[in-house]
Amino acid sequence: MLSRNEIIANYPHNIDIYKVNEDTLGENYLNVTLANDLKVYTEPFLDIKKSNPTQKILIPEEGLVLEPGKLYLGRTNEYTKTYNFVPLLGGIDKLAALGMEIHVTAGFGDHGFEGTWTLEIVCTYPTKVYPNMPIGRLYYFPLIGDNSIEYKGKYLGQVKATESRIEREYVPKLERRK
């Protein structure tokens, strides 16, 4: 895992993040913050083969109470670009101790990914959150081997909180012919 000095040495040509401020650089990671736009799925049942509609929610300055057990899609304020290293989004002790999960998958990103980080927020208790609060940390691992396969997937360049696009993997043959 890259040390603090090595993250600095690779900025911004391999590890880029916007915006930075005096709090961004941590012990061996970059700090990221919560943007104020969230999304929730509107249908009570989800299906990986269908487009699952969402609705936007904004977190006001004075805070918003998130319901326990409900999935909220959020995102980082920070837009990152990572080449030749593997970025990893981790959570922070303070929020974990309050029962708040920010990422349902293990948080490993891809070499070549550009975008903000979509967060999958699930709380154990009714939890009051605020815009721009610290939400996670980005760690970096060296990429070993030929780097010619870069991320070119469904979420490249995402900015706002982005819902799943998995249904694009199941486009029926009839539509493809168009």
Partner: protein
Amino acid sequence: MLTNEEIKKQMALGHIEITNLKDNSLDKPNSCRLNLGDTLYYQEDDYLVDTKNGYTHGLKEEKIPKSGFLLEPGKVYLAQTEQKVKTNGFVPFLNGKVSLSLLGISISLNNEYKDDHFNDYLLLCITCTKPIYIYPNMEIGNLAFFRSLDNSLDIGMLSGKEIMKRMEQGDIIISNKDNIVINPNSVNLTLNKRIAFFRDNVLDLKKNNPIEEVEINDNGFYLYPDEIYMARTNEWTETYNLIPVLNGRSSLGRLGEHVHCSAGLGSTGYKGYWHLGLKTTMPLKIYPDMKCCQICYFTPDGLCLNDYQGKVQDLSSVNDQGYYENLSRVLKR
């Protein structure tokens, strides 16, 4: 990621210190076993918590009795590990156990990665999917280490092309390899059509928890939020001279689906299917053979012995009908 030979070497050099080690703590190829401390802290009711001020109504403190403690879903239980860890030049990485993950117990909420110059017990944030009895002094997780790298860039995660190269060299074996998808730094594996879940409403770590198996088909199958589902990959894998780690997929994470409960870390030398503890936040329809997870590979930091002897590996001798029956029996303490 450090092999256990390297962990031992760094302990001898004083760069890693771990207290309260048991006889078997360092017998796994790339991690140290962790035990649960004797006290749990939790909020008694569904009070509001504030990310600025923390718990608004305080926490109850309770020792885990020998007779067992019932964990309930909808709560997070804070605890410490028995082991205290000190590092200089290494980043600790906390991970759960597959045997607990398959029963719906998670020991962290994304707070797995710690800081270099760590000097503390490890904070456990324990949640469960179904009510389950746990017991004192139990093995609760595994601790791995990453070297904090200043300029040595030949230790890290394999790129997609490097994974393909290692598959040709035999360090990575994946059945059905011509049909799997290779990503920039991981491979996708697919979901086997047989899934199991627990029949009882309350589970117990010391008992055989009876299961029910289903075979899902192209009509799909709904996962529900208050169940934990045991599943496995179609692909049989073997990993040598590398450390595999199981992750979910972003597209499924965005739908609220977990593929394991804080327990993705694998071991060098592991042979078998990958066992998934599927957990969903909203009712979600899934299908057999879907790409359900990804495996990434870390290079070993230190002498690598490839001698994994785990309980949940190599269950190939069991026929398909009895697979989960056998697996669930292995989970009993």
